[in-house]
Amino acid sequence: MGLKGFYFSFDAIIALLVMATAGSLVVSSLNDPGVESDQIRFSQYGSQATDISNYILRRDAKSLEPEIEVSASHRDIMISSFLILKEKENTDKAEKTARSILSDEKYSTEIYYRSNQTFNLLYPESPYNFNDSSSSKTLTVVDDKVYEILVVVGE
C-alpha cells in the first residue's frame, strides 16, 4: 500500500515536471516582447561608446601619426591624455585628433571631459542634442591631475 502511494506521487511529479516545463516556455514567450529597433540602436550606441573609450585608453598618441603630428615628448602618452593636453593648449589639435579617431564610426559622437563636477565639451564645437544616446567613461591623468572623459554616442 505504501509502495503504491509512492508510485502515484512519483507519477504526479513527472507529470507536473512536464507541465511545468511547458508552462515556463509559455510564460517566457508571453513575457518576451522580442527585440525592438530602439533596443538594437541603444545597444549599438553603447558598443561604439565603449569601443572609443577603449581605444583612447589603450592606444599611444604615436598611433595617431601620420594624420596627426605628435611631438617626441607626447608619443608614449595615451590618446585620452593627448586629447586633454591639446584641448588645454587651446588650438584646433584636439578637434583634429577627435575627428581622426571618429572618422570611421557609424553614429555621431560627443566627447566631454571634466576634472570637477562640470563637463566641458571637447568635440564637436556644439552638442548634437541627441534624442537617444548611450555613453562610456574613462579616467586619465594629465599634468598630475585626474580627468574623466565621457564619450556619448547617439542620434
Binding site: 511545468a20 516556455l25 510564460v27 527585440v35 533596443q39 565603449t50 585608453l57 591623468v141 585626474v146
Partner: protein, 381 residues
Amino acid sequence: MKGVAYTPFALIAASLLLMLFSVPLGANPQNIDLQINSLESSHTYQASINSALTLISSKSLNAHLKGFNQEIINSNNSLNNPEQKFISSYSLKSNKGDTTAENLQKRLKSLINETEEIKINFGEVKSVSSEGLKLNADQNIRYRYTDYILNLKYGRKIDEVDVPVEGAIDPLNYFRAGEIINYSICGYNKPAYKLGKARQSSGFENVYGKALVEPENMSQVNNKGEKILFSREPNSYELSDFLAVVSLSDSTLNTDTEWMAGFNLSRPVKTGQSVILKNDEAYISHFREIIDRKCFVESEEAPDIFQRMKNSTSKSSYGILTYKYDSNASLANGDYNLVDQRELGVKVSGVSSVEHGQGERSWFRADEDNMDYWNLSSLSN
C-alpha cells in the same frame, strides 16, 4: 492517502522548477547584449582607474626623485645608501596636485556618481631599483570600486609601479663636472646604428652628412655638398655635387665624389637622418644629438641612477650615460662618467674626426668599453 500527501510536495517542487525555468528563458538575446555592453563599459572604466592610479603613483615617485636629487646637490654630499634613504623619505602626502593620496581620493570621489563608490589604499614603497632611465617601485596600491546600479564590485591590487625618470638632476655630473644636467631619455638604445655594408667603395674614411633618399625633384634639393645620396639608380642623377653617394645597385659609379656600391641596407634610412660612412660601412648617427640634447642612453658599462647618487662611476647592468661638452679643454669630453679620465676615451669616426663633410667635434671622446657594448667599435679610431 500517502499518495495525496506526497502530491503537495510534488507541486512545490514543480513550482520551484517553473520559477527556475522562467528566469533564464525570459532573458532574450538583446537583454544579454545590453548586459555585456554594460559590463564592457564598466571594465573599461575599471581599467582606466588602474591606469590612473599607476600613473599618479609613477608621477609622484618621479617628483620625489627630483626633490631628492636636488637635496643631494644642495648638500653637496653623496649618499651611502641612497635606495633606503629614497624610500624612507618618500610619502604620497608630500607632493603637489593629485599626486597626494588624499587629493587623489577627493578628486576621484568628485568624478564618480552617487551610485558608485571608490576606496583607495596606498601602501608604503617597500623597495626600489633602477633599470636604465626607469625606477621600479615595489608599492602596494589597492582599490575597491562599486557600481550599485550595475551591482558590480571590483577590487584590484597593484604591486609594482614603473617610473619613467624625467627632469631630475644627475648628481654624478654635478659632483664630477659641476654641471647641472637633467635626466631625459634620448629615445634610442645606442648612439649609432649600422645601416649596412657595401660590396665596394671609392676608399675613404670619416664621412659625415645628412641622408637624401631617392629625391623626386632634384632641382629642389639644397646644400648637396652636405648630403649623402642613397639611390637604386644613382647614375640617373648629377652626382658630382653630393658629399657622397651610396648606390643600392652593384654598378660602379663614375664620379669624383666618394661612393659606395652594392650597398645592402639592413635597416631603413630616411631623408634627413645623420649618417656616418667609414670604409665600406654606413651608420645612422645620434652622437651629436646626444651631445646637444644631453639626453641619456642605456649602457652596461656606465653607472645607474642610484650609483650616481653615491658619486660612483662603477659599471651597472642598468647603467645610463650621456655625452657633454666641457669648456675646460684639459677635461674635454668623453663619456660624462669619465669626464676626468680623458685618456681612456677613443675618437669616433665621423664625430671626433670628419675628413669629408662638416661638423667635426675634435674634442669628443667615447669610452671604448661602451663602444664595444654597443657593437660600434668599428667606428672607434
